[in-house]
Amino acid sequence: MASPEDTQPQPSGAKTQSADQIGFLALIHEYQRWLLKICWAYTRSSHDHDDLFQEIVGRLWAAFGNYDRSRRFSTWMYRVALNVAIDFRRARQRRQSETPLSENAFDPPSPRDESKQEQLQELRELLEGLNEADRAVLLLSLEGNTYRDIAEVIGISESNVGTRLNRLKQSLRQTVMASEK
């Protein structure tokens, strides 16, 4: 499978865009789902979700000129996106004016979606209970990144990532056991 970096960009209105813009758009399109999931994980209202998405994309685009092409785009993007998301969440917590995110923040619910909604709600509650570092480690792990990749993005050692994930697994088991009782 071709890596996102190898993908040929095909945005509309390409004639009016520079090569940088075209390349950036193509890369972001490849990772757009991940960016949206990060926004979902770090916000609690649909309005904040949209704001954070724009903030991340704006920050990525502003920094794109300094992106070292010899390094992996995903690592660079994960770093910028997580840094912006953590900062955004902290600023929102200071304001304490969040409105609860409804379950249909991304899509209207249908009866057959109910179990999925519940599962996503569980996932959200779990993420809400984590500190910023563990949340970032977990999100990168859920996306299938290796310990090495996660360590590079967060700026901690690989063994640290392993320890944190093991601790999260233990904590998950304890949560499940407690809820079953």
Partner: protein, 232 residues
């Protein structure tokens, strides 16, 4: 629940995202077609405005000080205003440097530590701006009114026009506010209930925001140590 189950739930989010993808593609296109330089860093807006404001104050007060030297009833308040403007300007410039040094593509630990330090600097600045504001206000009022008087066809000495009790009372309040400002802000915050600004002001002046941010900074800075210790 296992990590693998969570991973499946995480992947299921993809299905829910389909609808927003088209809308966000438009946001993407608009974002990149806007020149990047136009997006000023929000963290830099207030310090930049503070620097501009302080520069304007200094440009006005420096010649004023020269004109009224050595009339100590005017030189005193002018020196207070100048010192406050210089202190605010230096602190704001330091904040601007900190903002410019933040490289968002740095590791999460590095950037979040830098952001916590920047936040601490902002809290410290806000606290002192509030505590010093009554004293600087009365000094600024005297300087400002005298500056206006100087332009009048028949200049007057402003302190002859203001009641000595009013001036002395304001000076005393300004000095006492530095000492008892915390208690006054706490009283006002209680009186105005749950208004966000008061709560934040109280937290910043009382030091609880600073304590929280310091803990946050320590948490990021010692991330590796803590887990190593736990693992050991």
């Amino acid at each position: 629940m296992q990590l693998e189950e969570l991973q499946q739930q995480w992947q299921r989010l993809d299905e829910k995202l389909e609808r927003t993808l088209n809308m966000d593609s438009e946001i993407l296109r608009l974002t990149v077609t806007r020149p990047a330089r136009q997006r000023m860093n929000r963290s830099a807006i207030w310090p930049a405005l503070d620097v501009a404001f302080c520069l304007a104050i200094l440009l006005v007060t420096a010649p004023f000080l020269g004109r009224h030297w050595p009339n100590w009833s005017l030189v005193g308040p002018t020196v207070v205003v100048i010192m406050a403007a210089i202190a605010l300007m230096i602190d704001s410039i330091r904040q601007l440097i900190r903002v410019s040094e933040i490289n968002w593509s740095g590791s999460v630990v590095d950037i979040q530590s830098s952001l916590s330090r920047l936040h601490m600097a902002k809290i410290r600045q806000f606290k002192w701006v509030i505590l010093l504001s009554p004293l600087v206000w009365i000094c600024g009022l005297i300087v400002g009114l005298q500056w206006l008087m100087d332009w009048a066809p028949e200049p007057h000495f402003i302190l002859d026009k203001l009641s000595p009790a009013y001036v002395a009372g304001n000076y005393a309040f300004g000095v006492l506010f530095i000492v008892f400002g915390h208690a006054i802000v706490r009283f006002l915050a209680a009186r105005f209930g749950n208004r966000g600004w008061w709560q934040r002001a109280l937290a910043d002046i009382s030091g609880s925001s600073m304590k929280k941010t310091t803990e946050e900074l320590e948490r990021w800075a010692s991330l590796n140590d803590k887990v190593s210790n736990t693992a050991a």
